[in-house]
């Protein structure tokens, strides 16, 4: 190996060897003219945007979660992805919650108080009666089309009121599907935010509610909203 390659010379040093050829300055100038400035800012922006879109399309989503304390239903677990809330849960432990999120989003949830702060504050204020409605962005991408219809319809039931499973079924144009409506609501990934607790039996009884402490939670949520069940 040539002795020259063992030092760490500048480019100009290297070019000063005995090989006949283009004057070093002319070569380095040409190289700089061609490559120093790079592809240009516009090209960089386009490439980075295209990269972001491709990664969003092919990678599992980044999901952030945190725990809301200091409410009657706490600890409430709240998880959100790039398109909104993906999961709200209470009456479970953290492992169960994270397993659910992993399964239903394909993403790996990362704890971040900052990223879900707005959602937590809204839910907390809602439970304290400070705000009337929860107009949070909810990502229902992981549920079936029918379930999405049911959940979106449930969202239209105002605070302080209830609707029956039959009424929800009628409103989505499937009057015979009240049982399926019940099942869809029981699998609501975002309780409180999507108020499945406001849907009850037509005979005046409570109907179902998901989770371990189902019935009790439903009664408590309704009571919080001024609806009393015997």
């Amino acid at each position: 190996m040539n002795a020259e390659t063992k030092k760490d010379p500048t480019l100009a040093d290297w070019l000063g060897d005995e090989v006949n050829g283009l004057p070093p300055a002319e070569l380095t100038q040409a190289l700089d003219a061609l490559y120093a400035a790079g592809p240009g800012e516009g090209a960089v922006q386009r490439a980075q945007s295209a990269l972001a879109r491709r990664l969003e399309a092919e990678l599992p989503p980044t999901i952030y979660y945190d725990i809301l304390e200091d409410t009657p239903f706490s600890p409430i677990y709240v998880a959100a992805g790039p398109r909104g809330l993906v999961s709200v849960d209470f009456g479970v432990n953290q492992d169960e919650f994270l397993a659910y999120v992993r399964k239903h989003t394909g993403g790996e949830p990362r704890r971040s108080a900052e990223r879900v702060a707005a959602f937590k504050v809204a839910i907390r204020d809602y439970l304290r009666g400070k705000i009337e409605r929860l107009d949070l962005e909810v990502d229902l991408g992981g549920v079936s089309a029918f379930q999405r219809q049911v959940l979106e319809e449930a969202r239209r039931v105002p605070r302080g009121q209830v609707a029956t499973y039959g009424e929800i079924a009628r409103r989505i144009g499937k009057p015979k599907a009240s049982r399926a409506v019940g099942q869809a609501l029981r699998r609501n990934p975002v309780p409180i935010v999507v108020p499945c607790h406001r849907v009850v039996n037509s005979d005046g009884t409570l109907g179902g509610y998901g989770g371990k402490l189902g019935g009790r939670r439903k009664i408590e949520l309704l009571r919080l909203e001024g609806v009393v069940f015997a």
Partner: protein
Amino acid sequence: MNGKPTFELLVERHSRELFAYLWRLLGDEAEAEDCLQDAYLRAYRAYARLDGNANTRAWLYRIATNCAYTQLKKRSRIDGRGAEFVENLASGEAAVDVQVEQQARLAEVHTAVMALPRKQRAALMLRKYQELDYEQIAETLDCSPEAARANVYQALKKLRRKLAEEV
């Protein structure tokens, strides 16, 4: 939880320089864009297995280089892109002041650069324009630092000789 940055940070920190590198290595914006995406997807799949102490920057450069090599294999042998590259440069956003008289000469230089063995061209770009040190270039090209230096040297020697012939 080890000390590795999040994948999002790898994108944030290095996508710009990797794109510029791929552009220099391939001489084509569209191919560089595609390779950038392939490189990051490959990096994502391999990231969990990467040692917590690894030099992530060199690791990314290595993946990008391999993606570029794959892209280069797809090209036909006769690749008359020199003139096009210089035209784009002169008319594009890179704000390079290229006189008309210079364009033909620059096209020759670019053609000669693209005709270099890929490892020599990579070493040259990594050293001169990506400003990696020889340890990092060695990791990127999977060789020793001495071999990395030799590749830069050979690249320049070859360019000088080739272009002197064309005067």
